[in-house]
Symmetry: none
Subunit: 140 residues, 2 copies
DNA sequence: CGTATTTTGGTACTAAAGTATGAGGACATA
DNA sequence: TATGTCCTCATACTTTAGTACCAAAATACG
């Protein structure tokens, strides 16, 4: 919450600086207006990237303790978002039916996801899948 | 790769547009220069957020410190040695048959141990048992 | 030695998990 | 528009897992 306030504060601050620059450029003909505007653009994009990066980190990578999730590995294995959701619920000990209820989809679909998951993780049972996933640091 | 090119293209395009706007504003006094610059700023930040959100991060994997086993808890739950062995093998992803082979006892016996384990841990499935056992720090 | 606990094993059954296959819809991209 | 990927769901089947109940050895202990 406090971070959110800080971020929006940064955005407003950046806007204010840009507005000031637009005036300052009139009194500093020695410096090209184009240069200043370009500089402002770079700063704003950098700010945006910073904000975007943090937003992504907060929403996708939820971790407790010192263990972090290896997002690269997930891509390497070709695991989809839905598959990751299912994998996480499996690791928490839920049955296929329970997982279906939590995700509002049928048990059949869960079984499909689970089977695909096993192929991609190269395992044969859900308990193995959890062990393997933790080894690879793709779940907490 | 193609996406990367597209993104950098977008950045350059945005910069060009901004430069053009800085000129256009001189010929369009009806529209406030501040407004145009503000609009540009918003667009650039949005672009930055989009770009930042798509940058893949190689997250650092930090190793967890020494995990302590709570021997007291094991006693409290009344878990026998054999049950602990079975529990550990379950957590490694082995099937009942495989566990039986490793401990040189029949699958029937494993099932008995597993069922007793479930009662003592107050769970209904082996995946739950693993989750619970780790919560209680009775397995690594 | 007698008693309690653990470990072992079996049978019979139900429930859940997992496999194989096919297929339609959603959505982004070439 | 065509293509490919993901998500969805279903049917039919096989395999594990799990429950209930029982019982015989092995082991620990006062």
């Amino acid at each position: 919450m406090l971070k959110t306030v800080l971020r929006f504060g940064l955005i407003i601050l950046a806007l204010l600086i840009l507005f000031q620059l637009s005036n300052a450029s009139l009194f500093l003909p020695a410096i090209s207006a184009d240069f200043i505007i370009g500089l402002g653009a770079v700063i704003l994009i950098a700010l945006g990237i910073y904000l975007g990066g943090n937003i992504k980190k907060d929403t996708i990578i939820e971790v407790e303790g010192p263990i972090e999730i290896n997002a690269t590995k997930i891509e390497e294995l070709g695991l989809s978002e839905r598959e990751m959701e299912v994998l996480q619920l499996i690791s928490k000990g839920y049955s296929n039916v329970e997982i279906g209820e939590k995700l509002f989809i049928s048990e059949s679909t869960i079984k499909t996801h689970v089977s695909n998951l096993f192929v991609k993780l190269d395992v044969k049972r859900r308990t193995q899948a959890v062990t393997r996933a933790k080894e690879l640091h793709i779940i907490a």
